[in-house]
């Protein structure tokens, strides 16, 4: 069977409590349950290389920085392949600028190289799985695109940043995030930024987001709803 884009490699399922981890906004001292940690450890058990999580926070009115930091510390503790670096955005302007941090909290996932995978907002609810998978997959060998898709990607005139606006309760969003992250891993021309719309009202209004998932390619093409892999690749090419 041809390998191509098989989201099945991402389909490791975690237990239910993890899916809704952190739904309680008031608690910041603990996000994951002990059973969540057991499942995540299993997921991370065959990680290959090291992965750095670069967390950007702010003291200036950040909705979920504290809880996101708690979660990142917990994730950091679940594999010796993962290391967490936390930066106050205002005190580390140069580093924030290097990674083009527009919102906080932001988590940049850096594996064997910086693949351009970034998360804005607390990756809770249904986003937790694609987020954890992105950490794991950043430690593995790059996915290999099929010949047909490689040919299309080769025609991209310039790099494309894919912004995926989601909410933590959207059932169709995780697959779109997984797909974009997959292409970010596979091609240096693609970067993927996931934005929790429910946390960033103003930013979502700026892009006139009224529905999720909404995907914006290179600030040029905006598409609402799920899309096929074929359409996704075509938009990558046309927006480059």
């Amino acid at each position: 069977m041809e390998k191509g884009l098989k989201l099945t490699i991402f389909s490791l399922l975690l237990i239910v409590t993890l899916l809704f981890a952190g739904c309680n906004e008031s608690s910041t001292d603990k996000v994951l349950s002990e059973s969540d940690k057991v499942e995540i450890k299993k997921l991370f058990s065959d990680m290959d290389g090291k992965v750095e999580l670069l967390l950007f926070t702010s003291q200036l009115g950040c909705y979920s920085c504290s809880k996101t930091e708690t979660l990142m510390k917990e994730i950091d503790g679940l594999s010796d392949k993962i290391s967490l670096k936390t930066y106050d955005r205002e005190k580390n302007e140069q580093i924030a600028a290097k990674y083009n941090i527009e919102l906080v909290p932001a988590v940049v996932i850096v594996g064997k190289e910086n693949y351009g995978i970034k998360q804005y907002g607390f990756p809770g609810g249904r986003e937790i799985m694609p987020f954890l998978e992105a950490i794991k997959n950043s430690s593995m060998e790059k996915p290999v695109l099929s010949n047909e898709i490689s040919k299309k990607i080769d025609t991209m005139a310039s790099p494309v940043e894919v912004k995926i606006f989601i909410t933590s309760t959207c059932p169709y969003c995780p697959d779109m995030v997984r797909g974009a992250n997959y292409y970010a891993l596979a091609s240096e021309k693609v970067s993927a930024v996931t934005i929790m719309s429910n946390e960033f009202d103003e930013y979502s209004k700026k892009y006139k987001i009224n529905s999720v998932p909404t995907i914006i390619f290179n600030e040029k093409v905006k598409r609402e709803g799920q899309m096929s892999e074929e359409a996704f690749v075509n938009y990558l090419v046309t927006s480059s």
């Binding site: 069977m1 099945t8 309760t169 697959d175 009224n210 529905s211 709803g225 799920q226 892999e229």
Partner: protein, 309 residues
């Protein structure tokens, strides 16, 4: 290329249940679906699946997927383009590969029915939505309408009422239908107003939805419209293979889930089965029945071959 015993087209409750039963019957099966979990995932609350007094559709389908995964059933997460019959097997064309199987089980479910009124397509993502669990958040303290009067519409209205300022339910008949539990919650909710015997004829606005026009001429100012008017069957490959479709557009099956075409079965919401009751519990049941029927068919064919020899 391997030839599977059965290719299960669709990964909703019927397809996943079929995958589990195929593994139990030791059939060499593959599940092909570009949306594993299916439309059931978008139900925000399920209160009638035995064993779970209240569970979200997403959570329940995670459990389904996890269960199937434990049997190591191969899954190909791709769209099925077409299928053709070639002597002893079927050839199923996907986006960039082909799969061969001796039997096909169609469990492709349904897709959302659209209103088909002016403004609906134009304002999709700009105030028109088909997914309450995805987009309810965008309507905090706003005025929205749910078009429809079934369980899905009633559930959508309840969920929206927890965020929106005001929720209209716009329904063409003189009373809501579906489970009485949901109806009671809708009609007793102070934020919800049901507009009976009302049909939306146009969705209006400039850049975003600003309201709807009803058949009787009334105009209701709104920030969003959620369309919940049922679904239509996704009869994948039916015309390719000459499968009989009933008057309502569903694949005609007998009590063994068999279609009119030899070695082609169908299960779940895409079929005429279960007396038209389209539920997760009936879809899962039909998936199981279909696999048992296929297993019996394979066993019978082995006996026939042996007798011929």
């Amino acid at each position: 290329m391997d030839v599977f015993d059965v290719a299960i087209l669709g990964g909703g409750p019927a397809g996943i249940s079929a995958g589990i039963y195929a593994a139990r019957f030791k059939l060499n099966a593959v599940v092909i679906s570009n949306s594993l979990g299916g439309t059931a995932q978008s139900a925000h609350l399920i209160e009638n699946y035995p064993g779970h007094s209240a569970i979200s559709g997403f959570e329940l389908m995670q459990k389904f997927k996890s269960h199937m995964k434990s049997f190591e059933v191969p899954v190909i997460e791709k769209h099925v383009h077409s299928a053709s019959k070639e002597n002893d097997f079927f050839k199923i064309k996907l986006s960039d590969e082909e799969v061969k199987a001796r039997y096909i089980l169609i469990a492709t479910g349904t897709k959302r029915r659209k209103l088909g009124v002016p403004g609906e397509a134009r304002f999709y993502g700009k105030g028109v939505s088909y997914c309450v669990t995805c987009d309810a958040f965008f309507y905090r303290d706003k005025t929205v309408a749910v078009v429809g009067g079934s369980d899905a519409a009633n559930m959508a209205a309840i969920l929206l009422s927890s965020m929106a300022k005001k929720v209209y339910v716009i329904y063409r008949k003189d009373k809501l239908r579906g489970e009485l539990v949901w109806i009671e919650r809708v009609i007793t909710n102070p934020k919800i107003e049901v507009l009976y015997e009302s049909n939306v004829v146009e969705i209006k606005g400039k850049d975003f939805v600003e309201g709807v026009k009803l058949e009787d001429g009334r105009e209701i100012p709104l920030d969003g419209v959620f369309v919940e008017i049922g679904s239509i069957p996704e009869c994948c490959c039916a015309s390719d293979l000459g499968i009989e479709i009933n008057q309502k557009g569903y694949i005609q099956v007998d009590s063994s889930q068999k279609t009119n075409v030899d070695r082609v079965y169908a299960a779940g919401d895409v079929t005429s089965g279960s007396n038209g009751l389209q539920q997760i519990v009936t879809a899962a049941s039909e998936g199981a029945i279909a696999i048992k029927s296929i297993f019996d068919d394979i066993e019978r064919s082995k006996v026939t071959l042996w007798k011929k020899d």
